[in-house]
Amino acid sequence: MLSAAHRVIFCCGRAQLIGAVCASLFGGFAVTAGVACAATLQPVTVAVVSLAGDPRYAPKQLERAYPEHPAGRVLDAARMAVDDTALALQEVGVALVLRDVQLADAQALPKALAELKSARVQHIIADLPPELLRALVQQAPTVLNGAMVLNVSSDSDALRNEACSGSMLHIYPSRQMLTDSLAQYLAARNWRKVLLLQGPLPGDQLQAAAMNVSARRYGLKILQTKPFKLSGDPRDRDLFNTRLLTNERDHDVVAVMDSHGEFARILPYATQWPRPVMGSNGLMAMAWHPQWERHGGPQISRRFQKQVKRPMQSQDWASWVAVKAVAAAMGENPKAAISQQLKQLRAGELFVDGNKGPRLSFRSWDGQLRQPILIGHGDGIVGLAPLEGVLHPTEVMDTLGTDEKESKCQMRP
């Protein structure tokens, strides 16, 4: 399902294509900027691959707007980043062009990759469910003669460990990074006794597993793990009644592991005792928050809101950073082969500005972008992980997620 517009552009001759790039990217800019959009700009296409019928983007699901779920397609943020990086790339004679690829289903992947190959695409921003992302990163490097796959929405720890790939860069934080951030915050507050509520979905179990690892790392005590279930059946009331689920008195916080979001939504202020809720609602760990007000945060959130007419979410931020990572590699050496670009990025030699404070680089062992994580709630930010006082022998941001010695990833570019 390639958009017709792109087909038309790519049917043009080279000169026309370059002309189209100049016109569409820079608009009036090149004229006023004085430094002309020379006819020598080399177009580099970045494909944004997603699933056409992705349930996360179903209209009703978007309406529910569960916290930390995407609020719209990541193409919007990628587009913003193409504009943001255009000027710097113009200096090295490159213009990024986006190509929206929405797969009908998993079976559509080989054909889509073949089309990308004929368009000589090697950079892919992936907004896919974990299984499909895994298939993509297994096939793309062979089909495309080398590929850089940038994951902007999956938090799968497996894709960063046993199922990792040397061709993958993860912009979106791993689940372990998110639960480590929360655990650091709880430890810093000395809210150490946790009641864990876990849903029935596989995603809920994975969240709970990560939370257990984080609890061990930061000395939290999970007093009890209780299953919850969405139901109205009086025989199941122990599983859905929020007061019955939280009636023991001893815990400091209620951690809810709910990848779906519906149960977590009704939990805050509905517990038996006045205890804060965290995890899938209440206090959350996030890659981005539209109210983040330091380090140039308001500038990109405002720009995004202006252009896309919705607040910028974590997945949008990741997509914006993904394009910037491609631009960083291109800016360093526009002629470098994709394998060299991957090597440089994963060696931590190139940096990306994510408007979260420090310059950001990729971990060599699993391709994860090391980054500060925002701790907050729907309304604002209360902390930034790594928390002050947390120490690491070389890089404090590596206290979040899988560190080099724990990594099960064997694949390097």
Binding site: G28, F29, T32, A33, G34, V35, D83, D84, T85, A86, L87, A88, Q90, E91, G296, Q299, R302, R303, G331, F351, D353, G357, P358, R359, E395, V396, M397
Partner: protein
């Protein structure tokens, strides 16, 4: 008092004068006001003053040069960068959330007017004759030129994303503007109103200092933890000064604010998250000394006597006074929420 002020306003508006004339006129008016009110206030610009803009308190806090708080001036929403006018009778302050330049009278200690700018201005500079304000407009990614007397916008130039630092050359013909997003410095011809050159520098370039001989432009790069030294003759980066400081990790060094020392021999650089300021020798480009200050040290200015450097710490809400000779912090005083810039009137 009201009547007197009204008549003075009338005398200002009724006669078409030059910009400097307006300033003189206002002084006379204020003198008249003070006289009629029976005040013993001297009609000179108050000395021994340090002005600090506080982004979140919407005020300029006033201190003496020893760091004792004297007063506070209510200004505008989110005051950021400040500059004196030629005779220091006025402070111009960028009002980030009011989209304006506030005009503050240093004698009365009051904001007396404003010049409309565009969306979210941060840093500005003045033409050598003091008549034109050139400001970076963050949200529109433009550099705007505004006439102080007519309060009209003269023109704007589209630049790269998130423009910040701006410096007008001493001859008034060119301006340098950093784009934090595009990692370039734009070299702009103010006569033809065109970008002449985009100079690639480090990551997230922020502010400028011009060396006293006018030959080197120093650019602080927040995220690549270095300073690019651009030759003003051919607009090329001649040197990159990397900061490697014992005991501080590279990721924590985020240079933003800079200031030329009074003797012109060194440049002070605020290292942001590293909570230090560094003194660099202009000739050798070596770090001479580093001084521990507060959190996120950005704004800084030396006392004209060259003895004290005033440093505003944006995240610890205070200002550190650094003894320039001994290279040690003397004291740190609270200044209100998110201090941005600092000015000294000896």
């Amino acid at each position: 008092m009201f009547k007197v002020f009204t008549s003075s306003q009338l005398s200002l508006t009724s006669s078409p004068r030059s910009f400097l004339g307006v300033v003189v006129g206002r002084h006379l008016a204020i003198a008249a006001l003070a006289f009629m009110a029976g005040s013993a206030m001297a009609q000179v610009i108050p000395g021994n003053r340090v002005y600090v803009s506080s982004e979140k308190d919407n005020k300029i806090y006033v201190f003496d040069t020893q760091g004792q708080r004297v007063s506070a001036i209510d200004v505008c929403q989110r005051p950021r960068h400040m500059m004196f006018n030629a005779d220091h009778s006025q402070i111009y302050v960028c009002c980030g959330d009011d989209n304006a330049l506030g005009l503050v009278d240093t004698v009365s200690g009051k904001m007396t007017g404003s010049l409309p700018l565009d969306d979210s201005p941060e840093i500005f500079d003045l033409s050598p004759d003091g008549k034109i304000v050139y400001a970076t407009i963050e949200d529109d990614s433009t550099m705007g030129a505004y006439d102080l007397q007519s309060k009209k916008k003269l023109f704007e130039i589209k630049v790269g994303g998130e423009p910040e630092g701006i410096l007008v050359t001493p001859d008034g013909k060119h301006a340098y503007v950093t784009s934090e997003e595009a990692n370039v410095v734009h070299y702009i011809d103010l006569t033809t109103r065109k970008i002449v050159k985009n100079i690639r520098v480090g990551t997230r370039p922020r502010r400028f200092v011009l060396t006293p001989d006018g030959k080197q432009l120093w650019v602080s790069n927040e995220l690549s933890a270095d300073v690019s030294v651009v030759s003003t003759e051919d607009q090329k980066v001649k040197h990159t000064i990397k900061f490697k400081i014992k005991g501080i990790r590279a990721n924590d060094i985020t240079p933003v604010g800079m200031a030329l020392s009074t003797d012109g021999k060194s440049i002070w650089v605020g290292l942001g998250k590293a909570n230090h300021v560094a003194e660099l020798d202009v000739a050798t480009r070596q770090v001479r000394n580093t001084v521990l200050v507060g959190k996120r040290a950005w704004g800084m200015v030396p006392h004209p006597d060259g003895k004290i450097l005033f440093v505003t710490n944006g995240m610890s809400d205070d200002m550190t006074l650094v003894d320039v000779v001994s290279g040690k912090a003397i004291r740190t005083v609270p200044v209100g929420r998110v201090p941005h810039s600092v000015l000294v009137q000896p």
